[in-house]
Symmetry: C4
Subunit: 209 residues, 4 copies
């Protein structure tokens, strides 16, 4: 496989950066990037230590998630979620990571089916520029059956960029470029950390009254 | 543009250090440094990934915030806040960053209009050396209209060094040198982390009584 | 000693990675890896700064924990726990680390004798693939007498991979490879961080009602 | 000054490691190491960015804290605390750092005059090996007058290794070697983080009952 295309290198760089933040604990997470105008995309191979950079980190698959070349690598078990996004939108990059904070938020607000942020400057990073913009992230149940999970996930994939939390199963974000996808992911994680920290502070305030 | 002046290199170094702490989540934040005795300053270009170091990270603008050379780069959307500081004071460096902690503090104490610290050795890092010194940081409303925001911000810019929180929109600090601005910024972030951690501990104490 | 065998290098790499996360505070922790098909294993030497990489980081010992070569190095004081695992199972790697979170979990749930996780995608990293899998980690008392500690520890060593918390004395995990042991360790630490953060959020929720 | 002695290099290495953990926020903190059998020690120069490594990071002073060579460098303002330790004990290294956690602990337990830890394996890192060992860290008032502060500090300096918290002014630890001093410092910070995290968990437990 060609491991020095612009897309491969971009995905490798994003992977290295997210690994530095330790967002792939327990070999969790998967990433992909689409070939230009292509019906194919690079996706992380299954069962790898994502803190390392190797020539077999990614493999090229088609929009059904099947390898387009002879390879011993298996695509990530959750490739189906990536194909949903590439099949429906003009997104060119999909990032799925587990962080302690996104999992706790998904559990805490899971029964409500979504978590919503407003009055936060950093919301602009998701492409919402109005002063009173809301940023709502759906939270779906973590079906163990991947096709069923993909079907439920599909209901929340409309735009060329977006974010969905899977309950106790991390976040999936996508964007028109790797840069955009990463920017949205960082904004989401910032907002999760913010909300959880603010909650504990409000508990403090409540304890004083 | 000349990318190896003392000022460019100093700003690049500060940027790298703050990026290492992940203080530019979602491409947030902007930084600037003044040319010696000059009516011009380097400021971060808009829409860049600040974890990377490139020759187009900064551009040179005048005290109105307009580029002084032909360039494809756009100055940060919030350049106006920097021009307020350089126009009124002898500050030579301005740093604006979002951290989870500074945003939570800005929300928690926002209605009071400021947050005040005392009895903390680290306050000396802001240039306050008396044992009973107070360090008060104003918190202003985050007006979406930047000229209006700059006008409100302007009311709190008197000295050659200082710090202002914008509610849910990070902190802006300035100083007579990059070294001083960074020292003040670090002291502020330390104090924010301290206060938030202490609050949760006091909630614990209250829960036991 | 031969310091460039595959096993030495793998253990050195794991040590470097765990050190980067600061999981060896106060020179705590110890690690080992078994020689292929061998009755011998490499184990961290006692009293070293595990943030550094040297030729005397590990020594080779037999299944009784005695050095198999003339050496000035002493095996870790807790080598006995490693020999229990290698003597009973087909595990090839054992990792013992102190983190603030694993110690707090061991104290918080210590009286119950174990802590159990479920409905967490990341449990799959421990080899439990069913949707309703439970992951139970025993917590044993921290006997100062190492042979007694090893005896109690022994009761929880049945499988070729596993994890045991010692109260206020870190976690010990093992697996059929260094890769597996590290994956389980990361999953455990992720789950500990998750549980502790969720607890404080539930306290917040309770404070509002 | 000779900047490649064993002692200089050891102190530089410790400084680099503590800087990596961001334990010198706002240019706080100071470090020193004694020359072998000597009435002189290297101490951090005042007002430096301790994240950087330069030839003027340290200067050599006598047991009164006065430079023993012509230099433009000023010893740290708190050199007096180091001279107290070197004058009374056989310690060869002194480390003083501010962390958010040590400052919060110093405030939280300050009125009691000390904080005590027990039943923690990591206490062994301070040289206490008995199963029921206690580790008590005195907390003194932060007198702005350094000679007065040194006088109060002096009351808690008896052994060749130890630790003292100054209220909202960080921790000072010392040991017979740089290795020992760093090990004690890490154990202290681990214990502080542990205690603060446990407190918030107990608040959670209390909220449920």
């Amino acid at each position: 496989m060609n491991t020095d295309t612009k897309e491969w290198l971009e995905l490798a760089e994003i992977k290295a950066e997210l690994a530095e933040r330790d967002w792939f604990m327990g070999t969790s997470g998967n990433l992909s990037i689409r070939e230009p105008d292509g019906p194919t995309f690079y996706i992380t191979a299954s069962g790898k230590d994502k803190r390392k950079q190797t020539d077999s980190d990614f493999l090229l698959v088609d929009l059904k998630g099947s390898p387009v070349q002879e390879t011993e690598l298996r695509p990530s078990a959750e490739t189906l979620l990536h194909t949903v996004i590439y099949g429906k939108t003009k997104a060119n990059c999909v990032l799925h990571v587990h962080t302690v904070e996104n999992n706790v938020v998904s559990e805490l607000y899971g029964d409500e089916g979504s978590v919503t942020f407003r009055n936060q400057e950093i919301i602009k990073a998701t492409g919402r520029w109005d002063e009173d913009s809301e940023f709502r992230i759906p939270i779906i149940y973590n079906h163990g059956d991947i096709p069923l999970l993909a079907e439920k996930f599909n209901l929340h994939v409309q735009d060329d960029s977006g974010a969905v939390l899977i309950r106790n199963h991390g976040i999936t974000v996508w964007g028109k470029s790797g840069f955009e996808a990463k920017r949205i992911l960082e904004a989401c994680e910032f907002l999760f950390q913010y909300q959880l920290l603010l909650n504990t502070q409000l508990a403090h305030t409540a304890s004083l009254t």
